[in-house]
């Protein structure tokens, strides 16, 4: 028996739970049933907190019956990327270094349980969201296919032989697989936007400083931002509304006004100037992706936006720049995983050096080690100026490209990924090919500006989802949502249900 499909809209679920038309418990149960039915195959979750979720849902229902006003996300089932700390709940960041081992089913044995909640987790909880579990990811958010998870493979609900993207692959799978209504991912170089594009979901990378990073296990601190993945634009807007804003625990958050994101969604794009950068439509972009992206841009024009060609000349340096700066930061961020205070520690070591070497050697996977080595190299005496300092200078040039472009346009529209979801295993042996999967998402990450991935139809050849990226200036998330909603409203194939959810 197939469980009734979970409603798609975060906004609608919250409204009906708040209004008492449906209980939080029944929604939570539907979500858990879907996980039980499909996640064995999909691999979206690393841990599921069924009892806790139901208990929480019942508490929400009880409070409603007592006449209390419920939070804006009341009863909404949410998946949390396992890079987010959840108090006393398993948190692995997809790495065996935060567990004592891995069992036959690919589950972490005795995983690390943080003594605290990430700020975004606390804010969602305060809004009465219900956490279903922790979603799969590339180890320490390093990867574009979710294949670097130490625990299990995640599969694309649209085609089980294809990747859901990464690194927030499990979060995208949870939503696209109709197991939760929303999810939180983290985006360092495209880790929310790319999986959203490959799974036909909406994914937001907020402006750097918009959302607290406190409790997000860091990959690259000057890039990392937590963002929502949902079925529709309004739902992402509703979730961002809750998690955005200054946090005294994160000195890199800012006091810019948090916009009225939900309201912005209905404003349309009449009179908006949208730029299309030639650099994003060059070699390497698949025809079926290009076709849907151009169609979506035409739809924006039909709805009153003026479209113009722009230049972002330093785009071609984005991949190299990103992989120098992000690896440099990660080589330092991951030093704390030393086996001394938490997580995995190799036994039988005779010396301190051996403790470090065997703990880290056995705890980290190959991609994480590769990036730590790259990052260590670029920061080393004698190489710092040639790599790290130079890359910082190029980052400034990329940022200026955007600043310059935003003098003449309000938003920029581009593809998210050069291809639709690629077959599992196809890029595993070629890290460079994998790095190029992020070629369109990296520049906005380097610039620290806002971007969203919105489904804009299915590829004509593959039948797989294509995403359009809308890039906005820092803290201009409202305009970003305005355009995203129009893209969603004009997209074809919106009612097609992923293969995995059909049976």
């Amino acid at each position: 028996m197939s469980p009734k499909l979970l409603p798609r809209s975060v906004v609608e679920i919250a409204a009906s739970v708040r209004g008492g038309e449906v209980s939080a418990e029944s929604i939570t149960q539907a979500s858990l049933d879907a996980v039980a039915a499909r996640d064995g195959q999909l691999g979206g979750f690393l841990s599921v907190a069924a009892d806790l979720a139901l208990q929480r849902a019942r508490d929400i229902d009880l409070r409603r019956e007592r006449g209390e006003t419920l939070g804006p996300l009341a009863g909404v089932p949410i998946a949390l990327k396992d890079a987010l700390c959840t108090k006393d709940q398993p948190t692995t960041s997809g790495s065996r270094i935060l567990a004592q081992g891995i069992d036959q089913q690919g589950r972490a044995i005795d995983p690390w349980r943080p003594p605290y909640d990430a700020t975004v987790v606390a804010r969602l909880r305060a809004a009465d969201a219900v956490f279903i579990g922790k979603s799969n990811l590339d180890e320490f958010a390093m990867g574009s296919s979710n294949e670097n998870s130490a625990f299990r493979l995640a599969r694309n609900p649209w085609n089980l032989d294809r990747t859901p993207g990464g690194s927030s692959g499990g979060s995208a799978v949870a939503v696209a697989g109709r197991m939760t209504a929303g999810a939180l991912g983290s985006d360092t170089g495209g880790s929310v936007r790319q999986p959203a594009a490959l799974t036909g979901t909406v994914g937001v990378k907020p402006s750097y400083g918009r959302v607290s990073r406190y409790g997000l296990i860091a990959f690259a601190s000057s890039f990392d931002q937590v963002g929502p993945i949902t079925h529709d634009v309004a739902s992402s807007a509703a979730m961002l509304q809750i998690i955005a804003g200054a946090d005294p625990a994160d000195g890199t958050t800012t006091h810019h006004r948090v916009g009225a994101y939900r309201e912005a969604c209905s404003r349309g794009v009449a009179g908006m100037r949208i730029g299309v950068p030639a650099e994003y439509f060059a070699d390497g972009l698949d025809d079926e992706v290009a076709a849907q992206v151009r169609r979506a841009i035409a739809a924006l024009e039909e709805n009153g936006a003026s479209i113009s060609n722009i230049e972002l000349p330093h785009t071609r340096h984005a991949v190299a720049t990103y992989y120098i700066l992000a690896t440099a930061e990660c080589s330092s961020n991951l030093s704390r995983f030393d086996g001394v205070r938490f997580g995995h520690r190799a036994h039988g070591s005779q010396t301190l050096r051996e403790v470090y070497e065997t703990t880290r050697g056995g705890g980290f996977g190959p991609e994480v080690k590769r990036r730590i080595m790259l990052g260590t190299y670029v920061l080393s005496a004698g190489y710092y100026d040639a790599y790290y300092r130079r890359a910082q200078q190029v980052r400034t040039l990329i940022r200026r490209d955007f600043e310059h472009a935003f003098q003449s346009v309000d938003l920029i529209a581009t593809p998210v990924s050069p291809t639709v979801a690629f077959p599992l295993g196809s890029k595993l042996d070629d890290p460079l090919a994998m790095y190029l999967a992020d070629v369109y998402t990296l520049p906005a990450s380097l610039a620290g500006i806002a971007a969203i991935s919105v489904p804009c139809g299915l590829g004509s050849a593959s039948g797989l989802p294509v995403g359009l990226q809308i890039i906005a200036p820092s803290f201009a998330e409202e305009q970003m949502f305005q355009a995203a909603q129009v893209v969603e409203d004009t997209a074809p194939d919106r009612e097609v249900i992923p293969q995995a959810c059909q049976s």
Binding site: L84, C85, T91, S93, L98, W112, P114, P115, Y116, A118, R213, Y214, G215, L216, I217, A218, A220, S221, S222, P248, A249, D250, G251, T252, A328, E329, S331, S332, L334, S335, R336, F337, D338, V340, R341, F342, L352, Y356, T376, L379, S380, A381, Y384, Y388
Partner: protein, 488 residues
């Protein structure tokens, strides 16, 4: 900086010394989290996700520590920069939870200061390269089977004060270190406690021929934690280097430890084996931007520094260099002295009494000090002396009586029957008795050993339990002794 006169102590070699001082800032909480900074508690009670370096935790800068570091920088004559950058110093050690120390590297808080010193080479001004902020590490405790880590201290705010290589003798190094400490404790930003490690010192030392423009091979001496050891360790190291060079041996740039018990240094590591710290700006902390207003505010609220205080005590209050030094050895003593003078006591009387009596009973713990009496009590006591109501000797006794209590010296003097004895008849009688009882000494006095007058005064004071008016006693004794001469 001013040219040093070269000592002959090291033959024709000139030592070149620069100190790096690490001083804990006396904030309530740690540099990047809200944990208490406190010492001597059970291990790891003052910790949280941030100072434990747990995954996902982020540092948030303590503004109080910034203010203290600005004050220290200004007091050391440095320019405080509007923008400075926190950087990560990467290395692995169990007492370093994050695998990196947050410090400042190429853009420190402040640069370019000076300090006046005065030691064996005379009064000189030496340079301070920079003052920057950083967090302290925890502590490893090594047992037989296991090593344990206590992170109570991890994240405690420090300032590192890097001196120019301007010092030319171990005595200068010691004087420099003491003066830096005095400045910090008078600012109230550091407790100056060398034993507990809240004030630590590393020294860089090399030797060269005077007038040479290049420095010799540098040796860094780690963690020399007393003024005496700094002098000893540097002296030993300078001799060691000279011996090696004169023997024609080459040595590498290196780091050495100092064993104070055995009075010798030992090799820790050579330059090529040192870690590459891979410094880079900490992306978790925005650049530290300090408004000019805050710098002005801190500059205006700087207290009088010990060197200025000493100058004022000698120039304006007429105290000796020695007395001024004693009174400014601890900020609480200076405060106590000034408060006592504010009650109307003369600076000299207050200084003498504090030096002779109070300091003996003073208990200090870091910046805290417990005085046996209040400045008001001491003021009242000295007023009795000033008015001639009680003698100096009685004053000491009265002090013993009121110390540790809130008794009023004036009323206690009455209750104890303390009053200067001015009854000439009674004193004359006593004088007569004393002179005849000590005929031998009287004989010697008359023979010209007039110093013995002090002996007779002592006897008379003893007989009057210190209450005899000193002037009157002197006069009567002198008269009695000289009278006898005439009688003969």
């Amino acid at each position: 900086m001013t040219q040093a006169v070269i000592t002959s102590r090291y033959g024709d070699w000139e030592p070149v010394i620069g100190l790096e001082i690490h001083a804990q800032l006396g904030t309530q909480t740690k540099l990047f989290c809200a944990c208490e900074t406190s010492f001597g508690d059970p291990p790891n009670v003052h910790t949280c996700p941030v100072c434990l370096g747990l995954p996902g935790a982020l540092p948030v800068l303590n503004r109080q520590a910034v203010k203290m570091a600005i004050a220290a920088s200004l007091a050391l004559g440095c320019k405080v920069h509007e923008k400075s950058i926190f950087a990560r110093k990467n290395y692995f050690y169990p007492d370093l939870p994050k695998g990196y120390q947050i410090s400042q590297f190429d853009q420190p808080l402040a640069t370019g200061g000076t300090l006046d010193i005065e030691a064996d080479l005379g009064a000189r001004t030496v340079g301070i390269t920079r003052v920057h902020m950083e967090e302290d590490a925890g502590k490893n405790i090594h047992g037989d089977q296991h090593s344990r880590v206590d992170l109570n201290r991890a994240g405690t705010p420090l300032v590192e004060i890097v001196g120019e290589p301007d010092l030319r003798s171990p005595a200068e190094a010691r004087d420099y270190m003491r003066r830096v400490r005095d400045v910090l404790i008078f600012l109230g930003v550091n407790d100056g406690n060398l034993e507990q490690g809240s004030f630590r010192c590393d020294a860089n030392v090399s030797v060269r021929k005077p007038g040479a423009s290049n420095f010799g091979t540098r040796v860094e001496m780690k963690n020399i934690n007393s003024f005496r050891f700094v002098e000893e360790a540097l002296d030993g190291e300078i001799h060691r280097q000279i011996r090696l060079i004169e023997r024609g041996e080459v040595f590498k740039q290196q780091t050495r430890g100092y064993n104070a018990d055995k009075k010798h240094s030992y090799l820790l590591r050579e330059k090529e084996n040192e870690d590459d710290y891979r410094y880079f700006p900490d992306p978790d902390l925005p650049p530290l931007v300090i408004e000019t207003r805050l710098i002005t505010e801190q500059r205006e609220s700087l207290p009088e520094l010990p060197a200025d205080k000493q100058r004022r005590y000698t120039k304006e209050l007429g105290l000796s260099d020695y007395a001024a030094g004693v009174l400014t050895a601890h900020p609480a003593t200076a405060r106590f002295f000034e408060a006592t003078v504010a009650t109307g006591a003369t600076a000299e009387r207050a200084s003498n009494f504090i030096g002779a009596e109070i300091l003996r009973d003073l208990k200090t713990d870091g910046l805290d000090a417990q005085f046996p009496v209040s400045p008001e009590q001491l003021g009242a006591l000295l007023a009795l002396v000033e008015a001639g109501t009680i003698s100096g000797k009685q004053a000491k006794k009265l002090y013993g009586d009121v110390a540790g209590t809130d008794r009023d010296p004036a009323s206690r003097a009455k209750e104890l029957g303390m009053e200067v004895m001015r009854d000439e008849g009674a004193l004359e009688k006593l004088v007569g008795e004393i002179v005849s009882k000590n005929a031998k000494q009287a004989e010697q006095y008359r023979a010209g050993k007039t110093k013995l007058l002090g002996f007779f005064v002592g006897q008379l004071m003893k007989a009057t339990r210190g209450s005899a008016d000193p002037e009157l006693a002197n006069a009567l004794l002198r008269a009695a002794l000289e009278q006898d001469t005439k009688d003969r």
